[in-house]
Amino acid sequence: MRATASSGSDAPLCFPYPAASNDGWIAYRGPADKAAWKTGIQAMFDAIELIVGIALIGAMALYAYACQRL
């Protein structure tokens, strides 16, 4: 069931990124553009969450193998 009062859908980052900043991640790496840095970090975090999910479920394969060897 629903857990909280906040929707969580109001995060600033959305896919695909707004056209103005949709010219590749390399464009976010200019130290002068604080907002671009923020967006870039968020995009990194976004990728990390997906990769962490895949890695953790995938790591269960090792756990399955270990259980067989127990």
Partner: protein, 569 residues
């Protein structure tokens, strides 16, 4: 409490039992791949799926390969559901124009739905497009339930077979469960729900003018189809924010009866199917009686506590005749609310008709204990059966120790390896629940999410991690879970609660399947009678109270005494 109330509870439970008995025979046939009355229609579809996916249905898998198939399937589900949420703003069927779902919320929701948890850190009607609801969430309501039953039947086959190297084929199992069990039942239940007034439309929302002249936006959508599998698959994720307390999702007391029936049907039938599949119906009945005792005891405590009411409210002049009605729907009443609350947490459903946060401390203790015990009476679809069979293995081992014989269950010797695997599965829950709860207590960012202080706040945090780890998904409410900390840690709790439990269970299945079945002798401990039921109840009480009594004592129990002393949180 009234006779009428108990009569309602008894009638609903008898209806479930009356349907589950014949349905269990159908479940056995489906899982064995035997012909049934739907074979002429659905068999060509089933074969089509196998051809499309390149699956050889005759080729069974070892427990390791079965586990790997489960993992591969879950990764595919996780990635596709994550992507669907992140791209929903550019995909069709988004009439309300919702943005892409935030990354941490998409992570949490994806894990939540592939693990059959359906914990929702969002309001469905204000966050998810129709496409995400239908193609993502509803589809995973089917697939995650099918996965649970597949794992359960892998374990059932292990008990039924002798000296076997395989435990079934994962792809065949999830196809058969989805096609023969979940889809037809969902269609029937969805149609009945439509007849009862649950909306089924692709409209985004309608605008109404209230009596005061204000404009009100009323969310609509394909609810009946999601509602049916939400209960049948013991998923629990609502289309609407208020879940089954919302009049669109659950319009009346009669629709509540239907929802309770739907959420208990497959778990109950699965237990009876277990008895049939191992060739001894009494074994399934003994387990079901134990589950029923725990379930009904929970209903009794909630019903008593809630009708007794809250003395603090009585002191303020609130009429105590109706009991504690805070957070409840008048149209459902105390008895059905008590039954639904115990059933939704005794199974892995997690749908709610009342705010669990608003239950009295002892009333709230029951759903909290049910989820901390892993939602195994009668449990989620499949997950309840395999979760309870792990408890049975431990109970048999305890009995063996007491009488000084090698423990056996259904002719299978329970030895060191089986016990290690059973304990690996059992211990993962307290490790996650108590570990993350303890860590949250130390973090200001987590404590800031609490809606209440003191023991009630502790209950809110323990409940959140208990609910997600046991893949229940109901929320105690009062806790703002939509933060980076909770989105991520609750996501991890769901992930490990599902896979770190199911994988040792599959290894246990492989180990048991390889064993020879020993013939029944005079020294065999009977596992189908009242003595075994008593033993199971004793093991449940010892096992789970030892794990969680400190948390329960510091949460709802102390809150109860403080309430009697005049203090509320």
């Amino acid at each position: 409490m009234t006779i009428l109330g108990w009569s309602q509870i008894a009638i609903v439970l008898l209806l479930v039992l009356a349907a589950a008995i014949p349905f269990s025979g159908f479940v056995v046939k489906v899982m064995a791949g035997e012909a049934n009355f739907m074979t002429p229609v659905l068999r060509p579809v089933e074969i089509g799926f196998y051809r499309l996916a390149g699956v050889d249905e005759k080729r069974e898998q070892s427990s390791l390969v079965y586990s790997l198939a489960l993992i591969a399937f879950s990764i595919a589900g996780f990635v596709s559901l994550y992507a669907l949420q992140r791209f929903q703003n550019v995909l069709p069927l988004n009439p309300q124009g919702f943005d892409a779902v935030a990354p941490d919320l998409a992570f949490n929701t994806s894990i939540s739905f592939i693990t059959n948890t359906n914990w929702q850190n969002y309001g469905g009607e204000s966050t998810m497009s129709h496409l995400t609801q239908m193609l993502g969430l509803t589809v995973h309501n089917f697939l995650s339930a099918a996965t649970g039953l597949a794992v359960a039947f892998a374990l059932v086959r292990a008990f039924a077979r002798s000296s076997a190297t395989t435990i079934g084929n994962f792809w065949v199992d999830i196809t058969r469960v989805s096609l023969y069990l979940l889809l037809p039942l969902s269609i029937i239940i969805a149609l009945v729900m439509c007849a009862m007034g649950v909306p089924q439309t692709l409209l985004g929302s309608v605008e109404a003018t209230t009596l005061e002249g204000a404009k009100q936006v009323i969310s609509m959508g394909p609810m009946a189809s999601q509602e049916a599998i939400k209960q049948l698959g013991t998923n629990g994720g609502g289309f609407m924010n208020a879940n089954s307390a919302h009049p669109f999702e659950n319009p009346s007391a009669l629709s509540t009866v239907l929802q309770i029936f739907a959420l208990l049907l497959i778990p109950t039938a699965s237990v009876l199917a277990f008895g049939r599949a191992v060739g001894d119906g009494k074994q399934g009945r003994a387990i079901l009686i134990t589950m029923a005792i725990m379930l009904v005891a929970g209903v009794g405590v909630i019903y008593w506590a809630e009708t007794y009411g809250n003395p603090l409210l009585t002191a303020l002049g609130v009429d105590p005749a109706a009991g504690n009605m805070e957070g409840k729907e008048v149209r459902f009443g105390q008895a059905l609310t008590a039954l639904f609350t115990s059933a939704t947490t005794g199974t892995g459903t997690g749908a709610v008709v009342a705010m669990h946060d608003s239950l009295t401390p002892l009333g709230g203790l029951v759903p909290l204990f049910n989820i901390l015990a892993g939602c195994i009476w009668p449990g989620g679809v499949g997950a309840g059966l395999y979760g309870f069979l792990v408890v049975v293995v431990i109970a048999v081992f305890v009995a063996g120790l007491m009488v000084g014989r090698t423990p056996e269950y259904l002719g299978k010797k329970i030895e060191s390896r089986e016990m290690k695997l059973a304990m690996l599965a059992i211990l993962i829950y307290p490790l996650i629940v108590l570990g993350f709860s303890g860590a949250s207590m130390l973090l200001k960012t987590a404590m800031d999410s609490l809606g209440n202080a003191g023991p009630h706040g502790l209950s809110e945090i323990v409940y959140a991690y208990g609910s997600t780890t046991a893949n229940n998904g109901s929320a105690f409410a009062g806790l703002n879970g939509g933060t980076t900390w909770f989105n991520n840690t609750l996501g991890l709790a769901m992930l490990f609660g599902r896979f770190a439990y199911a994988i040792p269970v599959l290894a246990l299945a492989g180990s048991l399947a390889a064993k020879k079945k020993a013939p029944i002798s005079a020294g065999t401990f009977p596992t189908d009678g009242p003595l075994f039921v008593g033993l199971l109840l004793g093991v449940i009480v010892i096992l789970y109270l030892l794990q969680y009594f400190p948390a329960l004592a510091l949460g709802p129990i102390v809150e109860h005494f403080l309430m009697l002393g005049g203090k509320a949180f």
